[in-house]
Symmetry: C2
Subunit: 279 residues, 2 copies
């Protein structure tokens, strides 16, 4: 069986890219009304430039059941275009064991997504049901890209066994993630907006796949995100852009503009890799 990490490495190699495009339909920005048609146009314009698409399920839920139907059509279209592209659902789920099992079933069986983001707050038994899907990627929130990330994730934890080993909470999450990675299916979410924290976690977890949102409209620097985010072989980073690609233009030329933005992002990332001798 192919592990999730092997699946990820293969599509990154095939399309020579670290780019993940976020498919977040915002009714105030959509150039055409039909969400499924919009996503289809974006996918048609970008599928050879990406390793993954990342729909954030919140934006579909905000549209009610028709939003979820549009997501279903989008998933089907991506499968039709190229079944090797990873569909990573950004859902940040997490609950107690039997409830996480229901979420995992929803995301990995009913929807059949390849990977999902999950929240670590409920601890190991809340994550276990996701991890049991050995060929699915489980990206655990570690150090997120938003200002409020500081509120709890940065709090310094004093371990019981030794006051010397004080570390921020997000590093404790990263250490746990390493332990949970029995099947090559654990990843972490690290915001590009906080390069020092990204570097610290890459030092702890040299080979875990990182989902790195926050470049572009959130202010993260692309080259830095690539150089700090990849493993020693220049892989294992999914650099996400949502608004920067899909709303590159909100006019009639949105499809060409999205392709142009995605292509520029991929080229800049590959240039950053070459600069480090990593292609």
């Amino acid at each position: 069986m192919t592990t999730f990490t092997q699946h990820l490495d293969a599509i990154c190699d095939t399309n020579q890219t670290l780019l993940c495009v976020g498919l977040d339909p915002d009714p105030t920005l959509l150039p055409i009304k039909d969400v499924a048609e919009f996503n289809k146009a974006i996918v048609d314009a970008t599928h050879d430039l990406v390793c993954a698409y990342k729909p954030n399920i919140a934006f579909y839920e905000a549209l009610g059941l028709p939003g979820l139907e549009a997501l279903q059509k989008t998933v089907q279209h991506i499968r039709d275009v190229n079944p090797s592209i990873i569909i990573l659902i950004d859902a940040k789920r997490g609950d107690i064991g039997n409830t996480s099992a229901a979420y995992a079933k929803a995301l990995f069986e009913v929807w059949d997504f390849d990977a999902a983001t999950v929240s670590p707050y409920l601890g190991s038994d809340g994550l276990q049901p996701f991890l049991e899907y050995k060929n699915k990627g489980v990206f655990i929130l570690c150090r997120t890209s938003n200002p409020g990330a500081k509120d709890f994730q940065d709090l310094v934890v004093v371990p019981k066994e030794s006051r010397e080993n004080a570390r921020p909470l997000y590093e404790m999450v990263a250490i746990s993630a390493l332990e949970w990675n029995k099947s090559g299916n654990v990843g972490l979410v690290l915001g590009a907006t906080y390069p020092e924290e990204l570097k610290a976690v890459r030092d702890i977890c040299p080979d875990l796949p990182f989902l790195i949102p926050g470049v572009g409209s959130q202010g993260g620097q692309l080259e830095q995100a690539v150089q700090l985010g990849v493993n020693a072989l220049g892989r294992r980073a999914l650099i996400n852009s949502s608004r920067g690609v899909i709303y590159a233009s909100t006019g009639v030329d949105f499809q060409e503009a999205a392709r142009c933005a995605a292509s520029n992002l991929r080229d800049s990332m590959n240039k950053a890799l070459r600069f480090e001798g990593l292609t």
Copy 2:
């Protein structure tokens, strides 16, 4: 405008109850196949005994779009029976600001739930969009009922301003919740399975509403949960039972069994309150 807390107090007074019934359809336990019909039967049998119903959205998502349609019918039926009963969606959502705004819109506008559970991991800007719905209850995960709660929630953290005030993470969440409660709409989730932690947080937050799951099949003691969970007036605790009520029998008598279980729970809680001189 009625605050969420006033809404909660009113229905608790009217139905003389702290009981919240969790509506979690598990296909392996359902006595009848149709989820909406099952929920309708449970609501018909228990609506005068509860202050709230708490569907956990994971169980509906695991059934695909038909599951969400069943949830929609269930919500409508509860509104028809008694619009004062609180519908608290257990969803544990939380993301960066603009995405949390989409989740909040989904839960509080599209679905029109009265309250929701949310995760604190992303910090204040991730919770703000929920809090802006001033008449909706926002129950922040604090100290959950599961074994993995210890993994991160119990870690002792040191606030930047003062190394003397080291506290477990869940207490830091409770302190933040107090600050965020500008509109009488913030609550916390505290597992009945951990009475000491429940007591510690009630001491920090004397009047916030607490959602208290974990009595019954998870092993929490009912009387203790009531006595430690309520405020000084014997209110502000939603004591949740899911499996213990809705699957009290999985045979043809499930409706009578659910009523009997709910009635016993309510009576035991009220007895515990009377024992403390709180009725």
